[in-house]
Amino acid sequence: MDTAVFKGGKIMAGKRKEKDNDISAGGSRAISKFHISDIVIILIIGILSLTCLLPFWHVAVKSISSNAAVAAKSVYLWPVDITWDAYRSIIEDGSMTHSMIYSVEVTAIFTLLGMIVCTCAAYPLSRKRLKGRTVITFLLMIPMYFSAGNLPTYLLYSDLHLLNNMWVLILPLIYSAYNMLIMKNFFISNIPDELEESAFLDGATNFQILFKIVLPLSKPILATLTLFYAVGRWNAYGDNMYYIRDNSLKMAQYKLYEMILNAQEAASTALTEATNVTSTPEVLQAASVMFVTVPIIIIYPFVQKYFVKGTMVGAVKG
């Protein structure tokens, strides 16, 4: 898939200042006369935030309302006839629970291997003294700019016996040039060469420096990239479409996609008056959306404080 192609590495953000992100550089902390424009900005930001929150809230509310209430169009922003039936039937059915467990498994392995391979690339390449650094960096960057395309890749994976195999969802994407760049830039700008140099003189090996000095100092970037890897894998299903046929090997998002595919077709065919497409009941669909999104909602607040900082740091040209 061409997920890696989309972002170039060097995003310049000017010179970063070590400063709390809360304090804006703007005039907001200067003189405190309240203008109409302040109210307008607060309102616009508020409305935009609501557009991000309300749809999700509506889906959550729908998922615990009764089928009848939803069909009667009486569910807006508050649940009607609260029932957990939809969730119960998802769990009883087993197929969605199975793909959830499977997706967690795939995501966990993917994230672990991804972080390892990313560190393996980023740390050596962040050391300026490394001989051959330019060539190796170049070799590791080309795939980001140019991929062979989906079909030759598909045939390659077929030769590698990876089709319809859990590992096709893991191995091809664990190395991401984009994530590597972020991590490398972090190492370059946050781990002073002197620190490493002095450890080197004290007789520490490269591995010891990496594990005892560099990684402990890099928690924000490790947290950020863990989130990127995990969310990226959890949410992607384009590769499922190409490489996976067995139902038991499909990830939860792909299952959800198949579900809305039916609903979409039902919505459009209802208009063209072909009625033989059965739609998933809306409540069930809403519950499924909540089901596959909950893991993200759970981890999101914990890593949130890291990722803004991590992204900013990594984005500064190293």
Partner: protein, 322 residues
């Protein structure tokens, strides 16, 4: 190594050319680490490049690379003039039109948002709204597609339900089932999904602008608008240019997941873009060679766009990307 360099070595870090032998002796552990990522790109990326030769073949799955016939440039000619060219041309046109619209609507939005967030007075409010605004970036397209159905369905979507119950409209608006409405919905969802996350990089750039500039401007009595126009925007200009160049590279590519998540039979005229063409015609329809030719065309145009944009930016005195 010159004579004078000895002093430099003693003073600064050893920037001297080391022999490979020495480098390996000192850094073999680093090279060992690099084997893993290098193996990954060679096995999963570089190994696929030879497969590109199928664009000059009439590739048949049964016959494989060795048994399929060489046809020269025929696939590229067929893309534009062959019997199935109508599909490709439609996909090409849709890709270009929708990506241009995506760019026109989606590119300025994060900038505007970042500037507004920067002007916000209450840190708490700013923090909470930022957290909320980043959220759509973390939702999959399957989830977004499903939420879109819930919001925009003609009969039972929340928006149409609300509008009808207020008596503003008689009949539901076909947000997802009439192609022009769909186009607007598709584009707005794209903007909505990307705006919060896109603003992070600009906010980072704004943090880098010296606070002194703003204070001086305040003392000189500059209005908010003048501060934004003369300090904030020039301060983030390099970031804007860099991101614009990168976005131009995506002018041909589109996101398959986004397109299929918002797909239905009534809007195929617009939804059929290159990513869908490659999946639907190339992959599912087993037109491997012609699908790959389209794919190659797409990535080469993307690459060319980036290079051209980079040149233009540099010619205009910007830093550029490469």
């Amino acid at each position: 190594m010159g004579k004078g360099s000895k002093e430099a070595v003693a003073k600064a870090k050893p920037q001297v050319k080391t022999s490979w032998k020495k480098a390996f002796k000192r850094d073999w552990q680093l090279y060992l680490l690099l084997i893993f990522p290098l193996a990954m790109v060679f096995i999963f990326n570089y190994a696929a490049y030879p497969g590109l030769r199928m664009v000059f073949m009439n590739y048949k799955v049964m016959k494989g690379y060795s048994g399929s016939q060489w046809v020269g440039m025929k696939n590229f000619v067929d893309l534009f003039t062959g019997p199935s060219s109508a599909r490709f041309l439609m996909a090409l046109k849709n890709s270009i039109v929708f990506n241009l619209l995506d760019l026109a609507l989606g590119f300025p939005m994060p900038i505007i948002l970042a500037v507004m967030l920067n002007e916000l007075r209450f840190p708490k409010y700013k923090k909470v709204t930022q957290t909320i605004l980043y959220l759509p970036h973390f939702l999959s397209w399957a989830v977004i597609g499903s939420i879109a159905l819930t919001m925009f369905r003609t009969n039972t979507g929340l928006i149409n339900m609300t509008f009808t119950s207020f008596g503003w409209i008689e009949q539901g608006i076909p947000f997802l089932t009439e192609k022009f409405h769909w186009a607007a919905t598709y584009l707005l969802i794209g903007v909505w999904q990307g705006m919060g996350w896109g603003s992070i990089l600009y906010l980072a750039a704004i943090t880098g602008i010296s606070g002194d500039l703003y204070e001086a401007a305040m003392i000189d009595g500059a209005s908010r608008w003048q501060r934004i126009w003369h300090i904030t925007l020039p301060g983030i200009r390099p970031t804007i240019v860099t991101l614009l160049i990168m976005n131009l590279g995506r002018l041909m590519g589109s996101n398959l997941e986004r397109l299929v998540a918002l797909d239905n039979a009534l809007v195929r005229d617009f939804q059929y873009q290159l990513a869908v063409y490659i999946y639907d015609y190339g992959f599912s329809g087993q037109h491997y060679s012609i699908g790959t030719a389209a794919n190659l065309f797409q990535s080469l145009v993307g690459l060319a766009m980036v290079l051209i944009a980079d040149r233009v930016a540099k010619a205009l005195g910007e830093t550029g990307l490469l």
